[in-house]
């Protein structure tokens, strides 16, 4: 068996609908995910993240290209891939007329997991997702966030070698999101590989070993979040509301990010000089670390929330 959990080569997907022009959702995506890694696909709505995940998880046929999971060809022998994987679908919901406890347990049983193991894993997953107080209420009576936690608990409890998570924390409150992140970290230390899509930059940064920035069906950049942040050209960002008039002068300190305010990316050694200029010009300056947001903006040219 290969040490690679997933390998995609030049994966393309073109959606064709009668009476409408074809839409190229993936335009030759290549990617390798190693066993035990947590990898995030980061991109705006419609970038192609879900399409990639659906192909990788055997739910969608690619137009061309190859994709393998643990050395098995996803296109040719999907039935040999499915026992290794589990998926949280985008906007997926549990059965409304099951309780979270029933949902997790019956799902594990349907995957062929023994009664004893299924029972133990169900209780563990409910505990970790903070669902114990609602575990015996029908899902129809739960909030959106609680239902999403039920979905994540269901898939986490499988402990499948490769987990595909499409926007797994959507609709969750910050505490629940952190609980989910902790659980994913625990799972990957036990050997599971995780491929998730998200448009939460903090989630991508906190959870993933590596990131792929996807736009218009292409991988624009990949690497660790530190790699991506370094590629911006500095490690500090200085926001200068009202600094537009002196943009040319500030531009000499580093790259400028267009936006509501003038923002300059600088190396720490040039910060003092820039602050002197700001003080002399009576311009307020706020200094902070460069985040993935700046990296994303530089790579894609637009904010992740922009449609």
């Amino acid at each position: 068996m290969t040490e690679e959990a997933l390998r995609a080569e030049q994966l393309r997907k073109v959606y064709t609908t009668r009476g409408a022009p074809p839409v190229e959702a993936l335009a030759g995506v290549s990617m390798v995910v190693h066993r035990g890694e947590r990898v995030a696909l980061l991109g705006r709505n419609g970038a192609g993240k879900t399409t990639f995940l659906r192909i990788a998880s055997t739910l969608l046929r690619p137009t061309s290209g190859t994709i393998e999971v643990f050395g098995q060809d996803v296109s040719r022998t999907p039935e040999r891939v499915r026992p290794y994987i589990a998926v949280v679908p985008q906007e997926g919901k549990p059965f409304f007329h099951l309780t979270p406890r029933e949902q997790v347990y019956t799902y594990l049983r349907a995957r062929g997991i023994s009664r004893e193991t299924a029972k133990a894993r169900t209780e563990d997953a409910l505990e970790r997702m903070g669902l114990n107080d609602f575990a015996d209420r029908l899902a129809i009576t739960l909030s959106g966030g609680q239902r999403q936690r039920t979905m994540v608990a269901t898939v986490m409890a499988t402990e499948a070698p490769l987990l595909f998570l499409d926007e797994p924390t959507i609709g969750m409150d910050p505490f629940a999101r952190r609980a989910v992140w902790d659980s994913f970290r625990t799972l990957s230390t036990r050997g599971s590989t995780i491929l998730l899509t998200t448009h939460y930059l903090d989630e991508a940064e906190a959870l993933s070993h590596r990131l792929y920035i996807v736009e218009h069906g292409r991988v624009l950049q990949s690497g660790t979040s530190d790699d991506l942040k370094r590629s911006v050209g500095g490690t500090l960002k200085v926001s200068l509301p009202g600094g537009a008039a002196l943009e040319e002068s500030f531009r000499s300190f580093g790259s400028v990010i267009e936006g509501e305010h003038l923002t300059v990316i600088v190396a720490p050694e040039r910060l003092g000089e820039l602050m002197d200029l700001a003080v002399r010009s009576k311009i307020t300056a706020t200094v902070g670390p460069v985040t993935l947001e700046e990296a994303f903006l530089r790579v894609v040219g637009r904010s992740i929330d922009e449609d």
Binding site: P89, G92, H97, R190
Partner: protein
């Protein structure tokens, strides 16, 4: 984590567990179990008012119609789970086989909705006084009608992208095939020229065969052959197609 090679896979792996899942889902909707008998109940009252002598035929027809109507539940459930919940992705991108998903869902619905049908059986036995052989024949025909309807329901469920469209079409389909033809009333009352057509529709074909067995209708040997062969061939053909289609539609194009 050690990744073991996938062993030889059974085509129905996960069937009983998914059946149990569906039983739990359906059993939590106990009001739906009661309302599943509304159409049959209303039609039985109509028949009773119009001609009480035909109530035996109507009771047997109600049993067959109930089995046929389970196909509508399969259609609605499969479409709802796929379109509204996307839970089919959760189950099918895993070791559960597509065949087990289709059959588990259908059989789960059968297990729950068979309870009110048992009442119809008790009434039919009381009113018609049929023999064990006729009872077994009715059981076999019910099974055929259920398998046909569940298969049609599952296949049709994959054609829709919007649940609102399904509500209209599914009730139309199941009422046209289950209420209009001679299921609740004797085959002999149906216009002669159209009789071959209804003998090719599984619910009315099954009803005609049972009506013949209880002496409520007289079929020619050609009609009996058409009804029996048509029902058998259609049931097997649509079931085989549904299995193929269940496998085919796991992955979208």
């Amino acid at each position: 984590m050690k990744i073991e090679p996938v062993p030889v896979l059974s085509p129905f792996r996960g069937f009983s567990a998914f059946l149990w899942t569906e039983v739990l889902v359906q059993a939590h909707e106990n009001l739906a179990m009661a309302t599943s008998m509304v159409v049959q109940g209303v039609l039985l009252v109509f028949v009773w008012i119009l001609d009480p002598a035909l109530i035996g035929v109507a009771l047997v027809g109600a049993i067959l119609f109930s089995m046929f109507a389970m196909g509508q539940r399969v259609l609605n459930e499969a479409a709802y789970v796929r379109i509204d919940h996307k839970a089919n992705d959760l189950y099918l991108a895993g070791p559960l086989s597509p065949e087990a998903y289709f059959l588990g869902m259908s059989a789960g619905i059968l297990v729950v909705y068979i309870a009110p049908v048992v009442i119809l059986w008790v009434l039919a036995i009381e009113v018609v006084h049929f023999s064990v052989a006729v009872g077994l024949l009715l059981l076999a025909l019910s099974a055929c009608v259920w398998l046909f309807a569940a298969s049609v329901g599952y296949v049709f469920s994959t054609f829709f992208r919007d649940n609102r469209a399904i509500w209209a079409y599914s009730s139309l389909f199941f009422n046209v095939f289950g209420v209009l033809p001679p299921v609740f009333y004797p085959f002999g009352k149906f216009p002669e020229a159209l009789r071959p057509v209804v003998l090719l529709m599984p619910p009315s074909a099954a009803a005609a065969i049972v009506q013949q067995a209880i002496g409520a209708t007289t079929l020619t040997s050609g009609q009996l052959l058409l009804a029996s062969a048509g029902l058998a061939v259609e049931t097997v053909a649509i079931f085989v197609f549904a299995i193929y289609w269940a496998r085919r539609t796991v992955r979208e194009n």
